[in-house]
């Protein structure tokens, strides 16, 4: 049987694809920044002395990590709507992705915090640093440096997972693809092109994180304990 592939009808809609790709990166950027902050706070909360906060953070992490993103998106989308709060699909997508990646980041950051040797903190205490100073200089940044590879893989996975927000019609790349294929009847070609764009996006993200890593952590530490 003859299969004729025609990529031209898909490729001539490159501007919609570009818009979708940009929106995908925007969603990922918002979720990475906000999720990163949630992750750092969550990890501090989980390891803190307040048992109630530690427990709440634990429930958040386990609840998010053991349910599908698709269901979380539906819950946020329809849950907010049933409370009478109307938000754009983009806002809901950003919120859901942030909540999702925040839980994973919390776990990764906690592993990073746990990897900081107790002696380091005692030494900082000996130097009369305040608790905040210790967390910032001695715990947070060295921890981030150690878990940086795991963090960035998680963020690339998040960018790919943002495709799920097409199900509530956030106009990101996959939603654009669904639209194009329903218009052109060229589903196979459309999704091939879109898959290639996602692969390109993940390469771009990895390259970007590598550059950021080089800038943030200029001295290559020799770590005795690989994570």
């Amino acid at each position: 049987m003859g299969i004729e592939l025609d990529f031209s009808v898909v490729l001539e809609r490159w501007h919609s694809l570009l818009d979708g790709a940009v929106l995908t990166l925007e969603l990922a950027a918002i979720a990475v920044v906000l999720g990163g902050i949630i992750g750092a706070l969550g990890a501090i909360g989980r390891r803190g002395s307040n048992a109630l906060i530690a427990r709440i953070c634990g429930i958040y992490v386990e609840g998010i990590r053991n349910t599908p993103l698709l269901v979380q998106i539906f819950l946020v989308y329809f849950g907010l709507a049933s409370l009478g709060l109307k938000f754009s699909a983009f806002t809901v997508a950003a919120v859901a992705l942030t909540i999702n990646v925040g839980a994973y980041t919390t776990e990764i950051m906690r592993a990073g915090f746990d990897s900081i040797h107790k002696g380091q903190i005692e030494a900082a205490e000996g130097l009369a640093l305040s608790k905040a100073q210790i967390y910032w200089h001695v715990v947070l940044w060295p921890a981030v440096e150690r878990v940086y590879p795991a963090l960035t893989s998680q963020f690339v996975l998040l960018m790919l997972a943002s495709s799920v927000t097409s199900q509530i019609s956030a106009e990101e790349l996959t939603a654009v693809a669904n639209y194009i294929q329903s218009e052109t009847y060229r589903s196979f070609e459309t999704y091939i092109v879109v898959a290639l764009i996602y692969i390109a996006l993940s390469l771009v993200m990895r390259l970007g994180f590598w550059v950021i890593g080089q800038l943030l952590f200029p001295r290559r530490r020799r770590l005795g304990t690989p994570l």
Binding site: M1, I3, L5, E62, G63, R65, N66, T67, P68, L69, L70, V71, Q72, F74, L75, F78, G79, A81, S82, L160, A161, S163, V164, S166, Q167, T174, A177, N178, Q181, Y185, R186, S187, F188, T190, Y191, I192, V194, A195, Y198, I199, L201, S202, L203
Partner: protein, 220 residues
């Protein structure tokens, strides 16, 4: 809320949950088999084989599972292959899981200390014998906790099969919601069921990880 939700709906959700488990098992068996081959190819002495397997992993890990689902269901239909939602979902999950498990298991094979290879070589074992008798038994032990952990991802990701009309847990929730319009209640129930499926697996994975780190072999 939920006045119209009755026992039939819950039975329907139960069927969906069974299909979620079924699809997870299909993905685990299919993806595990292909992933094992991928892992072996990744450590092959032949450069081309390593390169081919590496390319596969890079391509699949750079593509969202949702797009793979769309590609195998709508894409193949558009060029003349009509396949059922079960086949499309099963194949997509297999392709996806194989790339990730392949990469996890490659790491585990490489984590077996180098002297083990050298010792096996010194005993004049062939490459196959070295692999089967010396390396794999140790790699499997290293691989168990992360593989069980990845099982949680598999269970959660089967929810994406709903987009090709495969009636698993998420899709059966959507169908019920279409008739009742109680989204908050229904999706909460769905989330709780997923949690009940995934959490024990998460716990098991963590327990395995803890016990593995406690009795770390004094090799290397």
């Amino acid at each position: 809320m939920g006045g119209a939700l009755n026992i039939n709906h819950l039975i329907f959700l139960g069927h969906g949950a069974l299909w979620t488990i079924g699809l997870s098992l299909i993905a685990l068996i299919g993806g595990g088999t292909v992933g094992f081959l991928i892992a072996l190819c990744r450590v092959s002495p032949l450069r081309t084989v390593r390169l081919a397997a590496g390319t596969y992993v890079q391509l699949i890990q750079g593509t969202p599972l949702l797009v793979i689902m769309f590609l195998s269901f709508f894409g193949l239909a558009a060029i003349g292959f009509n396949i059922s939602p079960l086949l499309a979902a099963g194949a997509s999950m297999t392709i996806y899981v194989a790339a990730y498990l392949g990469e996890i298991w490659r790491g585990c094979i490489e984590a077996v200390p180098k002297p083990q290879w050298e010792a096996a070589e010194g005993l004049a074992l062939s490459r196959t014998q070295r692999m089967v008798k010396v390396i794999l038994p140790q790699a499997i032990r290293i691989a168990t906790p992360p593989s069980v952990g990845f099982m949680v991802q598999i269970i959660k990701n089967t929810s994406l099969a709903s987009v090709v009309g495969f009636v698993e847990l998420a899709r059966s929730g959507q169908i019920i919601n279409n008739s009742l319009f109680e989204p908050f209640l229904i999706y909460s129930i769905i989330a709780v069921i997923y949690f009940a499926l995934c959490y024990p697996v998460s716990r098991l994975s963590r327990r395995l990880e803890l016990s593995a780190s406690q009795k770390k072999p004094a090799l290397a």
